[in-house]
């Protein structure tokens, strides 16, 4: 059973981000780092129109929970959460949001970086890019 810190969401992320950020508070926290990954309008020089994200939801959430637990342990974080979109996304939309709470900035930056890097290596989520020229591709491996 996971910790529920990593959540796959099949709807606009913005309201979930607001709620998650509000909940992240601690009197011991001197640092709060956020990484937000957004849909970019190009990939390796090709104009991107939109994206689709697909996930193996139960495993993405359990594997994502493991990544967050590792980050908390390694960097001595007070808390770490992640929200990741699935479904159709337009240019500029948030695709992933990571919030990390720590006593000091080094742990908070380091933990945030660790979480996004590990997600890109091993959390079962896949991105399909739709290009301006009408083609589309599943992206294989971390970009």
């Amino acid at each position: 059973m996971g910790t529920g810190r990593f959540r796959i969401i099949d709807a606009a992320l913005a309201p979930h981000i607001t709620r998650a950020a509000t909940r992240m508070e601690s009197a011991a926290a001197g640092a709060f780092s956020v990484f937000e990954g957004r849909v970019r309008n190009e990939h390796r020089g090709r104009a991107v129109l939109r994206l689709d994200y697909q996930a193996y939801v139960p495993m993405a959430e359990s594997e994502g929970d493991k990544v967050l637990a590792e980050a908390i342990e390694r960097f001595g974080l007070l808390d770490a959460v992640c929200l990741h979109r699935v479904g159709r996304l337009e240019i500029g939309e948030p695709a992933v949001w990571i919030g990390v709470l720590a006593g000091h900035r080094d742990a908070s930056f380091g933990g945030c970086r660790y979480v996004i890097d590990e997600i890109k290596q091993r959390v079962p989520i896949w991105k399909r890019e739709y290009y301006m020229d009408g083609e589309s591709d599943w992206i294989q491996g971390a970009g």
Partner: protein
């Protein structure tokens, strides 16, 4: 034995389904993959994939048991 197989990304496109029940003799995930690859013609060879059994990464050569849920995991691209 009966195995529940889940497909994602280009493997889902090739199989045309999100999941299917597969009947197979005693064996492991590599044998299951070969059996399904012969039918669906996946775009990725086994060397590019990882396998998950019951939502955990697993060894290709661990024997499967009746009722296992197997997912072939293409290189991930979340984040």
């Amino acid at each position: 034995m009966r195995i529940e197989v889940l497909y994602f990304a280009s493997l889902r496109d090739a199989s045309g389904v999100e999941q299917e029940s597969v009947e197979m003799p005693e064996g492991d995930a590599s044998q299951l993959f070969d059996q399904l690859n012969a039918r669906h013609g996946f775009a990725l060879p086994r060397e590019r994939l990882r396998v998950a059994v019951n939502s955990e990464f697993a060894d290709w050569h661990r024997p499967l048991t009746d009722g296992d849920e197997v997912a072939f995991i293409p290189p991930v691209s979340g984040g």
